[in-house]
Amino acid sequence: MKSLKIYLKDDKNKKLVISSLSVLTMFLAWVFVTETGLANPLFLPGPKAIWLSFLECLHEGYQGSTLVEHVATSLYRILAAFLLACLVGVPLGIFMGISKTINAMFNPFIEFYRPLPPLGLYTLLVMWLGIGEASKLALLFLAGLPGIIIATIQAVRDINPTLVLATRSLGAKKMDLIREVYLPGAGPTILTGMRISLGFVYTVLVAAEIVAASAGIGWMIWDAAKFLLSDVVIMGLIVLGLTGIALDFTMRLIGYLIMPWTRAAGLNSKV
């Protein structure tokens, strides 16, 4: 008992225990309502049904592709679009943060399309780019872009101006400034922006895979819903959620590795 108290004194351990307990409670509530027949199995199947559908999709697949193929298809779409969003968003954000002129040039467009609902945007993208991969990637890309840009602008503006002046007085050119001061200084905030952005990309995945897909975890969820296969729907959502957590962890890991100056905070902390 005493050792437990000591164990819980550490904030990190306490968090872990509470989180585990709340997940366990949720799970037990799920078991309870499904086992007692309180929930209609058509809408909420029990954990066992979900597990069985997971095994079946893993081994036999869902409509022509195995679960791994569905996940791989979606991950490819997500990562390709997200990478593109980072490649465009981070430099653009830095320039927009440094230069008021560039900011004024791009800001209206970003502010305008950022709050648009993805499905509305998607109709137009399908008209322009067709029903293939291009429109799907474009939608995911557009979903990820603003978060990265806005975080990067903020990160650049938060940098202590004395640092910039000091570096300049030592003869640094604009490109040196970006490489030596802005990027390292803004790195942690940019990473946070990227993580939030990845979340946005995730939220539009199902929307992006509704039109004319025949694989992908988002498509699988959508298709299964049409045939009232709620076990596949819930299983798909769980897989989607877990891959999301895994991706987010990977991002933090990358940040930890390439930005050693942030390590004091530890890998578990929110950067």
């Binding site: 058509l42 809408f43 869902y62 409509q63 022509g64 399908v126 008209m127 067709g130 029903i131 293939g132 039109v211 004319a212 897909a213 025949s214 498509w219 298709d223 819903a225 049409k226 045939f227 009232l228 296969l229």
Partner: protein, 335 residues
Amino acid sequence: MKFNKLMIGLLSCALTLPAFADDKPEEVTIGYLNLVNAQLVTKSLGLVQKEMPGVKINYIKVGGGGDMLRAIAGKQVDFGGLGNPPTAIGVTRGLPIQGIMVLNMLDYVEAMAVRPSAGIKNFRDLKGKKIAAPFGSTTHYLLLNALNDEGIDPASMDIIDLRPNDIALAWSRGDIDAAWFWEPALGKVLKGGDAHLFTTSGIYASRGYPTWDVGVVMDSFAEKYPDYVKKFIKAECEGIDFWLNNPAETAKIIAEELELTLEDATRMMKGTEMVPCSKQLTQQYMGDGGAESGFVKTLMSTGNFLYEQKRLPKAAEVDLFTDFMRTDYLEEVVK
């Protein structure tokens, strides 16, 4: 003071509601499919409203069978319309619905169009091509059955899930080579020129794959307001009779409801077969609702097909379908 009024209000609500609940619904929500049938006439002429004075009638347009299933599962409609594949899915999965009447039989209002430049002369030529159909709908079902009959593996082509309106859009961009879908989107594609008719749902009906839409009611509604189910059927029957007796007037209504030209509306009307209610209880259609009636047979073969396709977790059960088919309401209406 305010509080007292509120309490009195609440109390009187609580006291009066049960008394009225059994004879009259406050509002009735009808989900109708975005296709050409007499429900548009019934809606336009306000026939349901005429049968149900004092009841608020809401109409919701639903894109296809898959969406209608979701609307039913979410209890967003009281009455709906379903093609045979979504019906087989919904009933096998235990949705609380009853089939009460024939809305329409599908002829060439549903058809498969191919792009002439794609060089598709028969089903074998579809190999390696991109074909669209709304998954889970009647046309998706017919496409897979047709391929099955020809002994062609569906995996040898790229079959994609698109709704009719998206098919028209994808067609105009040249993204797809063939599609099996329905009016009014079908007409737009055929009219565009870069398409010709390959086969129709009517042709497949004569080959033993009839497709149709059945009117359904939620169990809970039918239990509470059986009289209103009859009123609904009566109104729809009137709409069907109007369609059969006044084709010119009907074409005008369809044209207006779906924003079509009169010419298009007339053509589409001919592609849909309306069955007068007096004939719906023959064995070809709902019959006695037993295992040998046409509709139950179709549901059985549809259900088994979907099971083979792994779209249904269990094989079709004839009892579920005979329970689903309720002929008693219609019997009393046409009596």
